[in-house]
Each structure stands twice: as C-alpha cells, then as structure tokens.
C-alpha cells in the first residue's frame, strides 16, 4: 500500500499501436501475461494484438482494482476485502455504460488475457442482455444480419416451437426455491 521500493514496469501495446506502461503486479492479474512474464519471454513491449486501446484502458482499470483489493498491509486483516454486496455494487458500477459492442470486445480481451473475474462480469452482463429476448431484439442489439431465408426461419421455429411461442415478457421466471 505505502510507497514500496521501485516497482517493475511492464509495457503493453494495443492493436492500434498505443503503448501502456503498467506495474508488473497489475499486468500479472492477466494469467496470460503472468505466464509470459514468469517465463521471461517478454522483455520489450508485449503486443496485445486483439485488443484496441480504449478496451485495454478499461482492462487495465480492472486489473488495477484487483491489485488494490488483493494487496494489504497486514496479512491477518485485509480492509479492502469486499463483502458480497460490495462486490456486486462494484461490478455493476464497472460495467455501467458499457455498450454491446464494447462488451464483446471486453469479452474477447478478458478471454485472451485470461482474466477470470472480468470475464465473469462480462458474461453476466451479456446473459442479462440476452435473457428473455427474441431473436430480432438480439440482432438489433448487436448489429447481427439475419442471413436465414424465411423458409429456414420457419423450419427452426417449428422444430422448437415451445421456445418461440411464449412471450418472454409475460413469462415469470421464478428463481430457484
């Protein structure tokens, strides 16, 4: 927490060429980077080829937070440890305002970099966006082009009629109890 001795820095380059300098501990939140750093095969700038700068910024924000909550001045008691409630609130705040396109990019990034916590946040958000929606609504949300012919569409609908016929907005989805 307090100013420790000089911190080792790591440099990351996004797909669009921007270079980010972060503390090693921050980079190591990403398992993929951790492995690279531990095998010492990352001396200069690590290229993160599938992640654009604005997304990488967000990813780094996440990693910084993880470092903050996992580090602690004493081993017995970590004041930054979050309760379930706080974790949820924090996660919600972090994902707030993330649009569908950004969400997809975040998912790709956290998947590639192997950051489980961020991946889970993204998946949760994605699930809540898709659940209870009709195909057309999902297409609109994510700019998906419908490449089915009307006949094909009809065939699929008939095959699993039950999944399509009920209006999801009026269906009560009672949770487990």
């Amino acid at each position: 927490m307090s100013e420790s001795t000089e911190k080792k820095m790591v440099r990351l380059r996004s797909s669009d060429g921007e270079v980010f300098e972060v503390e090693e501990s921050v980079a190591k939140v990403a398992k993929t980077l951790q492995d690279m750093l531990e095998e010492d095969c990352a001396d200069a700038v690590i290229p993160i080829t599938c992640v654009r700068a604005p997304i990488l910024t967000k990813v780094i924000d996440y990693c910084k937070d993880q470092v903050m909550i996992s580090s602690s001045s004493s081993t017995t008691n970590n004041p930054n440890e979050r309760t379930e409630q706080e974790r949820k609130a924090w996660g919600q705040k972090f994902m707030e305002g993330v649009d569908s396109s950004t969400l997809c990019e975040l998912l790709v990034a956290s998947n590639f970099l192997n950051i489980e916590g961020l991946l889970n946040l993204g998946v949760d958000k994605m699930v809540s966006m898709i659940q209870g929606k009709y195909p057309q609504e999902i297409r609109d949300m994510f700019n998906v082009v419908n490449d089915f012919t009307p006949e094909e569409e009809e065939e699929i609908r008939n095959q699993n009629a039950w999944a399509f016929e009920r209006d999801p907005y009026y269906k009560k989805r009672s949770s487990s109890k």
Binding site: N80, S101, V108, P135, N143, A163, F164, S176, K177
Partner: protein
C-alpha cells in the same frame, strides 16, 4: 470514457457478438435457460446449431393459473424437453436443472415417467450437477447410481433419501422445502455419503422433529437457512466441519443445538430468535464468528443476552468477532476472549452512548484486541456522542475514555458526512497506539489512507492488557 470506447472506426456497426470465439459463445449460452438458449439459434446461421453443444440444460415451467388449457401446456413442455434431449449433441452434460411447478395435487404418472427418463439420460451424459425442484413436492423419482454427480439440489421428497448412498462422488447436497419435509431421514443417513462436503437445508419446517442428527465423515460446510424447529435437539457431529452458518432460522420452545466439530473454523449466526441452548464441544479451531440479529428492532432482555453470551462462551479461541447486535446488554455480558484481535461492529440508528461505552469496555478487556472495524453507518440521527444533552452516559467528553490497545481502525462508509468524520476523530484522539486508519467507500474501495507517525507502542502493551476497565 464511453465516447472514447466507442471511437473505433467500425466498432459501431460491426457484428461483434458473432465474432466471439465459439467456446466463449457456448460459455455464455450455458448460463441461459435452455429456452433462451434455443432462441439464439434463430439469430443468424452462425448460431443455428450452437445450442446443441451447450453443456447445461435448464428448464423452467410453471402452470399459468389463468390458462384454460393447462393439460395441453404441460404436454407441450414435456415434448419440448424430450425434443431437446433428442436433438442435442451427445457430448457430456455439466448440469441438468428442472424447475417444475404444477397446480395439480400430485404429478401424473406420465409426467413422472418423463422426469425419470430425463434424469437417467442426464446421468448417462455424465452430468455433474442436478437440480430437481418439483412442485407439488413428494413426487418420488428414481435416482440411478452415478459416479459423476457432484452437486444435487432437490425439493424434499423428490428422491428417496436412502438412495444418496449410491452417489459416491456427491459433494454438495441442498434440500429445499416449502413446508414440512415429507419424509424424515435416519440419523446416520449422511454417514453413507463418503464425499459429501456441503449440506444445505433451505426453508424446511422441522417442527415435527424431536431429534435431528447430522454426521458425516468429510462434511465441511453446513448451511441452515430459514428453517424451523420446535422442541428439538439438533446434533451436529462432523470431524471435518469447517463452516457452520445458520441464517434466519426459527426455534420454538426448548431447542438445543449440540455441535461437536474440532476443525470448525467459521461460525455464522444470523437470527431473529435463539434456541434455548448451545452445547459446543471442542470447538477449539473457530477463528472467526459473525453473530448478527436480523430483526431491526430486536429487544434484548437478559435472557437473550445470556444466550448470546452462552453461545460465544463456547468459542473461546476466536480471533475475529463480528457482532452485529446493537445492544449494550449483550456486550456487557460477554466474557473476555484471550485470542481476539479484531472486532467488527455496526452503528445503527438506535445507538446511544451506553452502547459505545460497552464496546469500549469490551475492546479494552480483550488483551490482544488490535483492530476495530466499523461498518455501515445507516442513519445515526439520534446518535450523540459529543457531550450532547441527550447522552445517557459518561462518554460525553473526549478525554473520558482511552482505547489502550487499538492499533488499527477500519471504517466502512456508506456515505460520508460530518458525523462520521467526527466519530472517527473521536476514536482516533482517544487511541494512543493507533497507527492505521482506513476508510472504505460503499464500492469497497479505499477512500483515503492515513498513516499516523507516532509509533512508540508495540510490545509493552500485552502486559497491560486486560487490566483496563474502560
């Protein structure tokens, strides 16, 4: 930030969801109810067959009581699930969950037959997790033996509990009831589950039971949530038990809990009522305990305070105590704890100085106490601690108490205001050895940190500890 994120050249109009790697899309689909999952097959060609490879099946049906064609609706649902099982790829299944609520008094034979079939297929596909929540309850299904099943969540009566012994890999068992369990289990039932680690009862009404024994060789966690007992002896005997969490249970008349668990590490007890007595045997390993009253205005009389005292009295080695009870009577009754290092208290609205006094006294009577956590300031409009006339006690001056032992203060703020800051200042100015103050905001982030320079405390404190009346 948002603008910045959007600023990619083509990011706005690109179909990014279909570009996600297939494994990732499958992962996302596995969290959706199967119905939604299948609906995605119509998004575009790249999605058409994806659902067949999803490793979890999750069905949810309940009778719509306004419908006039219930029989047909039920039939349709059964056909739908049948079809999903048939059309699905034959790859391994991770979980099969079925929530089924029918208005019938009991399930029809054909329905039960379908359920049995699905369960059999799911287990054949090496399912690791099975949730069967069926209403009406007590619709006994056949449970084939399984070497893969690890998690089982059931409404009471779904299977004959004696069959549990056929599940050699079962690690987690959750039993849910909306009322009284339709059958009892024998005392040694769980002894036959060699791998069972977690046991949870939810919403069960055990009022008719006079004795309940839970013992299992490898049981690590017991969760009792929203259950009810009446005049019952509950015996827990588990050599490997690490966690015992009791939440919002009701104890009528003379209930007793006997716990014998040498490795028990964490004890949580959230309550509106307390059983008559706790008998804790050999709970030498309990490191942390959380005791919280769930009733907002729980009235503590001497009897209740004694019960809490008695309960905690059996946990003499605890290092961390979270006592979420705003009653000075309870604090007054607590014995000193030799190992306690950390106390967490809430500050609720009805606190008066008597409470603060009793906390201070308690802090000073435990010789290793170093850390005080204060969490969730909700509303302290009646909270006067600075010489106000409403004060009912003697703490009304900043010099009147000293926290001799306190080294660390952690304050979890939900909102900051002058009162909170004032209160922290008060504690700070009366704790000569305090060297760390940490404030955390409602998102669990550290607000600001203060290191205090005066550090000449340390060793000599231990000897003095315990002698300060507060």
């Amino acid at each position: 930030m948002e603008q910045n994120l959007k600023s990619g050249i083509d990011s706005l109009s690109r179909d990014r969801i279909s570009e996600l790697p297939e494994t990732l899309r499958l992962h996302i689909l596995s969290f959706l109810p199967t119905e939604d999952c299948i609906r995605t097959s119509l998004i575009a060609k790249g999605w058409r067959y994806l659902w067949k490879f999803v490793s979890s099946l999750n069905f949810n049906y309940s009778d719509d009581h306004t419908s006039t064609a219930l029989v047909r609706e039920r039939e349709k649902f059964l056909n739908f699930v049948d079809q999903v099982f048939m059309l699905r790829d034959s790859s391994d299944l991770y979980e099969f969950c079925l929530y089924y609520r029918s208005l019938r008094k009991s399930l029809s034979k054909s329905t039960v037959r379908s359920f049995n079939l699905w369960v059999a297929v799911a287990l054949k596909l090496r399912a690791k997790k099975l949730c069967l929540h069926l209403y009406p309850e007590s619709s006994v299904l056949e449970l084939p033996s399984s070497r893969t099943l690890e998690v089982l969540s059931l409404t009471w009566g779904t299977i004959n509990l004696q069959n549990l012994s056929q599940l050699c890999e079962l690690r987690t068992l959750e039993l849910v009831a909306v009322g009284a369990p339709s059958e009892s289990f024998s005392n040694d039932l769980f002894s036959y589950c060699p791998a069972l680690e977690t046991l949870r009862f939810l919403g069960c009404d055990f009022s008719e039971w006079s004795l309940m024994c839970i013992s299992a060789p490898s049981l690590k966690n017991i969760f009792l949530d929203e259950c009810e007992w009446d005049d019952c002896v509950i015996k827990v005997s588990a050599p490997s038990l690490q966690r015992l969490h009791v939440n919002d249970c009701v104890w009528d008349n003379d209930c007793t809990i006997e716990v014998s668990a040498q490795r028990l590490n964490s004890f949580k007890y959230g309550f509106r009522s307390l059983p008559k007595s706790f008998v804790f045997q050999g709970l030498v390993s309990v490191d942390s305990a959380v005791i919280s009253s769930l009733g907002a205005c729980f009235d503590y009389d001497d009897i209740e305070a004694s019960k809490v005292r008695f309960m905690l009295g059996g946990l003499l080695n605890i290092r961390k105590l979270n006592l979420d009870i705003d009653s000075d009577v309870v604090f007054e009754r607590l014995p000193p704890f030799d190992c306690m290092e950390e106390l967490t208290v809430p500050l609720y609205h009805c606190i008066c100085d008597d409470y603060v006094n009793s906390v201070i006294k308690f802090l000073n009577s435990n010789c290793k106490m170093q850390t005080l956590n204060i969490s969730e300031f909700v509303d302290r409009s009646d909270f006067h601690y600075d010489g106000d006339e409403h004060c009912c006690s003697q703490v009304n001056g900043r010099q009147k108490f000293t926290l001799h032992l306190l080294k660390k203060l952690v304050v979890k703020f939900w909102k900051r205001d002058d009162k909170e800051i004032e209160w922290v200042e008060l504690l700070k100015s009366n704790s000569p050895h305090l060297n760390e103050v940490i404030r955390i905001n409602s998102f669990g982030q550290e607000d600001e940190e203060e290191g205090m320079e005066d550090e000449e405390e340390e060793e000599d404190m231990e000897d003095e500890g315990g002698q300060w009346p507060g």
